[in-house]
Symmetry: D3
Subunit: 287 residues, 6 copies
C-alpha cells in the first residue's frame, strides 16, 4: 500500500483521525489481548505498534492478557495433561505454578519487551503486584482447584504507572487473602479492571468477527447492541458458550460506567486502530 | 480519496506516523502562517486542522502571522495609498494604527476563532501583550516610520499558555520601551520566537515550492542545505530578495539551537502535516 | 499636594488603607473601564496606575472595556455613518469588522501597552480568545445585525493568566457557536465576567457622579441601595435609559454572589483607589 | 491629619508608594525592633501596624528583638543587680534563665500577640527553635558568662513560616551545640539573620536620629554612606561605642549581599513605612 | 540490660513493633508532658528520645506541657505566694506575667532544646502564636483572675510545622480576643488540641499508675474503660478530684473522634514507647 | 525470648535503634536476597518482615533476587540437565525461557505476595520492565548462550514506585537491545542497581558467615575491609571463587558512591535488621 498512498492521502487520513484524537485524549482504554493476535508474528507486531501509538497520542492503554495455549504446551512438556470443566481449566497446585510461570514469567515479559522495542515504556504486572487483582476460590462449578472469582481490584498501582507514562501489561493471575495464586479468566479480569479504572472503552480481541445473532450463521454479525440485548442473549442461551465470559465482562464494565465495550476480530491487522480511529464498523459494539 | 482509502490503509498511515509522534512529543514547533494559505478558504481550514491535530498528539504549536494584503486593503478603504521601500512598508503613525487594528484585531482574532471552531483552545496575542516582542526603530534603511527591529523576546506568557494546553497565535506587532507600536516582519518574528522558545522546528509557509538554487529555474529546488550554505546564498546575492528575511529568520533560529528550519509551500493542502508526519520531501530544509 | 503632604501624613494614609488591604487580599475585582477616563490622558494614566497598584497589593483586577466613540470615528473614516436603535449600534458585517479591529486591535492593545509601561504585566483578550465570551444574535429588538446576547462565559483562561500574575484586559467582542463575531455591551460583559469569576466587586466607571433617584435632579445622588431597590428603579422606569444596562450588569453580578457593585464617576482621578482603599463615599453602591 | 487629608490626596499618596511596592514585592526585610519603640504604647502600635501592612502588600518582614530594660527590671525584682562589662551584660546561669524567660516568654509573646491583634499572623521563635541561631561562648572580653558569639544560622524554619504567610518574631537568645542558652546582641542577630536569609534590607530601629559623623554634633547626621566608610568609622574610633555593634551588623548583612542597611529613628511614628514607602530621607543608609 | 539483650533479641523486639508502626504511620499523637517526667533528668531524657523516635518512624508527635512547680518557684523568688482555689491557680496580672515567662520562656524552650539535642527538629509555641489557643476568662468559680476557658483552637500553624517535619512543643498559655494572656490547664489544652487536630491518640502523662476505680485502693487500677464509664466516674464523684480535668480532656478528645485516650504513668522510663509500640498493658485506656 | 524480654527492655531496644533510624531515614538500601534465606520458611518470613519494617521506618528497600536451585529443578522436570561453565549456567534458548519463567513468574511473584501478606506494598519487576536492566551477550568465557553482561540500568521505574511507597522486587533477568532475554548474575545486578540508584548500602545475603581471609579457615572472618583490600583479594586469588562476583558487585557499588557494602549471613534470622539497626558486627563490611 505504501507505494499507492500519496503524502496528501496520508495527511487526509491523519485529519480524519482528529475527531477520535479529541474524543479519547487522556482517556483510559482497557484491551484484552488474546487469540491469534498473540501467536501470529505479524499480528503481534501490529498490536504492539497500535498500543504504542495510542500512548503517544495521549491515550492510556492498559493491556490484559491470558495465555491458555502456552500454558497447555508447558504442562505437556512437564508431563501433565491439561483438563477442563465447562471451559475452565482444572488447576491443581502444580498446574497453578505452571500457569503463573508461563503467564507472568514468559508471556507477560514477552509482551513488555515487545512494546519497549517499539518505543513504548511498558511494565508487566500480575494480579499479585500491589494486590492488584484479588480473588477467592471459584466454587460454583465444583472443586476445580485454584480457579478464582475476582473479589476486588486495587488500581492504585495502575495510576502510579500511567501518570508517569508507562503502559501497564497485566497477566490474568490473581491473589487470595492468604497469598495463594488463582487462575482467573482474562476477559473477566479485563472487564473488572475497566470497571475499577473508570475506563472509556473495553476492547476484547477475539478470533471471530464479532458476536453473531445466530452463531452458526456467518451473516448474522451484530454491529451494535445495548447491554440489555446482551444480557438477553446470555439469558436466552442464544450466545455461543465461549462468548459468555466475554459478554459478561462487557456488562461488568458497562454497569460500572464504561462508555462502550467492543468485541473485535484480532485476526485483522491493526484492528485496534481501525476500531478507535476510524468510522469503519468493526466487530460488535455494546453500549 | 476518502472513497478509495480503506480502513486498513488508514491504520497503516497512522502507524507510519508513529516515528514522528515519538520524535515530536512535547516539542515546540513555531509556524509562520502566511501567503495564500491565509486567503484561500480551503487552505485556511487545512492549516487550522493541522495545528489542532498537532496539539492533540502532544506537540506545542505556536502560530505567528502577518497580514500585508489585508493591511493594504484597509489602508485603501481609509483613503491611504500603501508605499514600500526595499520591501518594507512605509509606516507613518496612521498606518501603524491601521496595521495594528488589522493584524491584532481582525486577522489574529479570525485565526483564533477558526482554531477554536476546529476544537483547539487558541489565544491571540500581539507583541505588546506581556511585552512579548520588544523592538526599536529600524534605522538601517532611512526613516520609514514605525518599522521595528526586534531587540528582545519575553516568552513567559507563551509558557503560561502552553502549559495549560492553549495554542498561542501571535501577530507581528512589537512594542518599544516607550510603549510605541512597531510593525515587524512576521518571518523575522517567527525566527526570534523559535530562538527564544528553544523550539525544535521553525516552519515558514510561503507561496513558492521552497528555495531555488537559481530562483529563475523551477527545476533547481533545494531539498536540504546547511546553515552555512544558506548564509552563503545570502552573501552571494544568489537568493531572491523576498527570500532573504526568511533565510535570515531560519539562521536566527538555527543559531539559537533550533534543530531544523523549513521553508514550505503553503499552497499545498496539509503541507504542515506532510512535513511533520511523513517522510515525503517537501520544500527546503535547513539544518 | 505633593508639597503639602508630609512623610508622616503619607504613612498615616498607608495605615488607613490597611483594613482595605486585608479585606481585598487575593480577591478579584472586575472593572468596566469607559467614558472620559478612556479619553483624557491624565485620567487614563491615573486608571492605569490604580490597576497596577491593585495588582501589586495582592488584588486580581480584571479590566473590561468597550470603545464606542473610537468605533464611530473609524467608521466615519471608512465612509460609513454609525446608526443606533434604542442605544444599540446597528452592526452589519462590515461594521462588525470595524468594531472588532478597533476594540481588539487598537483600544485593547493600547490599554495593555499602557499598563505594561506602568509596570504591570497585562495581556489583552477578546471574547473570542479561548471562547471567553460566547453570544448569540440579539433578536429582542428586531434585526440590528451582529449585536450579541451573552450566553456563556468560559473563565478558564482568566485563571490561567491571573495565577501567573497577569492582568487580563478584555474587549467587549463575543463569539458565536459558528465562530461569528458579536458586538456586546461592555457593561453587560463586565457583569457576566464578575458573575462567572465569583468576583468580590464589580466597578462600572461612568461619566456621571452615580445613580440619581431623579435623574434630572443633581442633588438626588444615591449613595447605597439594595439590589431590590435597583430592580424597582428599572421596573418603574425611574432609572435613566443609559443607566439600565449598567444596573442590569450590577444585578447579574450580585445575583451570582458578587458582594458589591459600584457605579462610580470616572471623571475623578483615582476614583478606583478612592472607592477601594478609603472610606469616602463615592458614586453609588449596590449590595 | 485625618481631617485635612482629602480622599484625592490619599489616592495620590498610595500612587506615590507604587514604585516601592514594585521594588519590594516578595522581598525579605529584617527589622531589629528596640528602644523607645518597644516601650511607648503609641510607637509600639505604629510599628505593629507597619509590619502587618508590609506583609499585606507582599513583603516578608522578619522581626528581631532584644529587651534589655525588661531583663534588668526582672532581675531587680528577683533581687539580682544587673552588671555590664564593655556594654555586655554579665550573664551568670541565673541571669541567663531570667534573660530567656523575659525575652522568649514575655517580650516575644507580647509582640506576637500585638501583631495578631492588628490582623497579622505572627509566630514567635527564639534562637533555640529548630536551632535557628547557634552560638558559642564569647571569650574575647574575658569570662562574662553566657554571652554568645553567633556561629551559625539555620533559616529553614523561617522559610517554612513565611511561605505560609506567617510573620516570624525572633528573640535574641541563641543555643550552643550542647543545648546551653546564650545571650546574644539583638542587632548582631538581626544582621546575621539578614545575611542568612539573603534579605533585601536590614533596618535597625534606634533611639537616635541616625549616625552622626561627629556623635557630639547633632548637625552632622549622615544620610548615606558606603560600607567602606562605615568600616572606616569603626576603625578610626569616630563611631560612638553604642553604635559599633549596629554598624557591624550592617556590615555583616551588606557583605552577604543584602542591598541596603538602615539605622533609623524609632522614636518617630511609622518610621518603617516612611523609610520603605517614601522618598523622604530618614536616618542613615549604608550601601 | 544492654549486656543481656542479644542482637537476635533486639531484632525480635523491632519485629514485634511492626504492627504498631503500621498502625500509627502518618498519624498524629498528642502527648501531655508533665509531672515527675519533667523534673527527673533520666525520665526527661527518656521522654525526649521517645518523642524523637516517634517522629523518625513516621508519627507526628505533638507535645503539650504546663509547669506548675516551676511557676510557683519563680513566684516565690519574686516574693509572691502562690494561691489556689479548687485546684486553679489564682492568677492576677503579675502572676500571669510570671506564668507566661516561665512556661513559654523557660520550660518550653528547655524542652525544645532538649529535643533538638536528641536529633529532633522542635519548635516551641505558646497558644498566642498564630492564635493557636484562644480563651476567655473562666468565670464559673468566681473571679480568680487570668484563668482561661478555651474557646477555639486554630491548628493551621501545627500543620505548617508538621508537614515540614518539625515537632511542635506547646505551652499551656492562651490568648483572648483582646490579646490578653490566659493561664489554661495543660491537660485541657492537650485534649482540645487532640480534638482540633483529629489526632489518633491522646496520651496524658501523670505521676500515678493510671485511674483507680477506688482512688484509695492501689489494687483497683482500671486498664480500659469506655467514655461512658469515664463520664459516669466524673458524675458519681468516684474519680479523684485531680483526675477530673484529665478525664474531661480525654472525653473532649474522644467526642471529637480521637480513637483512644490514655492516662499513663510518667514515672516509668519510656512509658510512651511501651504504650505505643508494645502490647503491654500500661495505665488506663479510654475508648 | 518473648517470655523473657520485658516491656522496659523492649523500649530500650527501640531507643538503641534511634541512631540508625536517623542515619537511614529516606535512604535507599539494595538487598540481594538469596541462598538458604530463600528456601527455609522461617528465614524467608524473617526477611519479609525485615523488609516491610525497613519501609515503615522510612527506608527505601530494593530487593534483588536470583533463584538458581529453582531453575535447575524446573529444568530437570522438563527433562533438561543443567550445565555450568566456570560457575555460569550454560543457557540455550530453551533454558533461558525456563530461567525467565521461574525467576520472573514464580520466584518473583512469590516474594511479592509474601511481602504483601506482611503488610508491604510490593511490585515485582524483571530487568525487561521499562528496560530496567539492559545487557549484551557475555562473550568473555566462550559461547555459553544467553548469559548477559549488564550494559545499562534505567532506574526511572524504581523512582516511580518508591515515591509512591512501593517496594520493588527485581529478578535477575536482563533485556538486550534486540529484546532478547539474558540471564544475569543476581549479585552483579544488585551491585549495578545500587550504583545506578545512588544507594546508601548494598547488602548481599549469602550462606556463609562473611568473607574469610583464608577461605579454608573459619576463624579468619573479616569484619571490615577497604575496597582496595577487596580488590587485592580478587587480584591475588585469595578470595574464594564463589565470592568473586559478590566482591565485584560490592566494588561496583562502592565505586559509584555507595557508602558501604555488606556480605552477611542469610542463615541467621533477621540478619538484615541486625546489620542495619544494631552495633553488632555481622558478616563483612567493605567501605
Amino acid at each position: 500500500m505504501t507505494a499507492t498512498t500519496t503524502p496528501d492521502q496520508k495527511a487526509e487520513v491523519l485529519i480524519q483521525a482528529l475527531p477520535y484524537l479529541k474524543e479519547f485524549a487522556g482517556k483510559t482504554i482497557v484491551v484484552k489481548y488474546g487469540g491469534n493476535a498473540m501467536i501470529d508474528e505479524g499480528l503481534k507486531r501490529a498490536v504492539m505498534t497500535d498500543i504504542v501509538l495510542m500512548r503517544y497520542v495521549g491515550i492510556n492503554p492498559i493491556l490484559v492478557h491470558g495465555g491458555g495455549p502456552e500454558v497447555s504446551e508447558a504442562m505437556r512438556r512437564m508431563g501433565k495433561e491439561p483438563a477442563f470443566v465447562s471451559g475452565l481449566r482444572v488447576t491443581d497446585e502444580e498446574t497453578m505454578e505452571i500457569v503463573e510461570m508461563v503467564l507472568a514469567g514468559k508471556t507477560n515479559k514477552g509482551i513488555v519487551s515487545h512494546l519497549n522495542a517499539e518505543g513504548g515504556r511498558a511494565v508487566g504486572l500480575s494480579g499479585k503486584d500491589a494486590n492488584l487483582i484479588m480473588a477467592e476460590k471459584e466454587t460454583r462449578r465444583g472443586d476445580i482447584g485454584f480457579v478464582g472469582r475476582i473479589t476486588q481490584v486495587n488500581p492504585d498501582i495502575i495510576h502510579t504507572l500511567t501518570q508517569d507514562g508507562y503502559i501497564p501489561v497485566i497477566s490474568s493471575v490473581a491473589v487470595g487473602w492468604d497469598g495463594a495464586s488463582y487462575n482467573v479468566n482474562a476477559d473477566t479480569a479485563a472487564g473488572e479492571l475497566a470497571a475499577a479504572l473508570c475506563a472509556t472503552k473495553l476492547i476484547l480481541m477475539t478470533d471471530v468477527e464479532g458476536l453473531y445473532r445466530d452463531f452458526q450463521d456467518q451473516d448474522s454479525l451484530i454491529s451494535a447492541m445495548t447491554s440489555d440485548e446482551a444480557q438477553a442473549m446470555i439469558d436466552s442461551g442464544a450466545a455461543d458458550k465461549g462468548m459468555i465470559p466475554k459478554l459478561e465482562a462487557c456488562l461488568t464494565a458497562l454497569d460500572a460506567g464504561v462508555d462502550r465495550a467492543h468485541i473485535i476480530d484480532g485476526r485483522r491487522p491493526h484492528a485496534l486502530l481501525i476500531e478507535i480511529f476510524t468510522d469503519a464498523g468493526i466487530g460488535t459494539m455494546i453500549h
